[in-house]
Subunit: 74 residues, 2 copies
């Protein structure tokens, strides 16, 4: 698997949960105190994020990082 | 949870699997084509690795990245 595939799959899983919370990208980025443009690029699968960033996003979404990874088939 | 706790937990889970394969740190680093010192620092929990690096390590260990994360209680 290549890096962009991993980022894309993860972005899709993150987006699904954020939408389920009925929050806009900008609103959610604000909640987790992340730059909006950066958060948006994560959902688009353009970022090879660190496990720490993954943890911050997952915590905001109310899910475990390992579950997010599993949903992304990683 | 803070960044260093995440890295430390992940390092412990990685080390457990590498030891189970009966490979030295250096040998395993060579197998996955990673710099030995860098790999060693991952096991020591000193690196906030990216999901791509996590994937490379997990693949070498023969486990899923999501399972490694779950074993690290993340």
């Amino acid at each position: 698997m290549d890096e962009s595939t991993i980022s894309r799959r993860l972005g899709i899983a993150v987006r699904k949960h954020r939408v389920a919370l009925d929050l806009s990208q900008d609103k959610f980025a604000d909640v987790i105190q992340m730059h909006r443009a950066y958060y948006s690029s994560i959902e688009r699968g353009e970022r090879n994020i660190t496990v720490w960033t993954l943890w911050r996003v997952a915590e905001g979404l109310g899910v475990k990082p390992s579950d997010l990874m599993a949903e992304a088939n990683l």
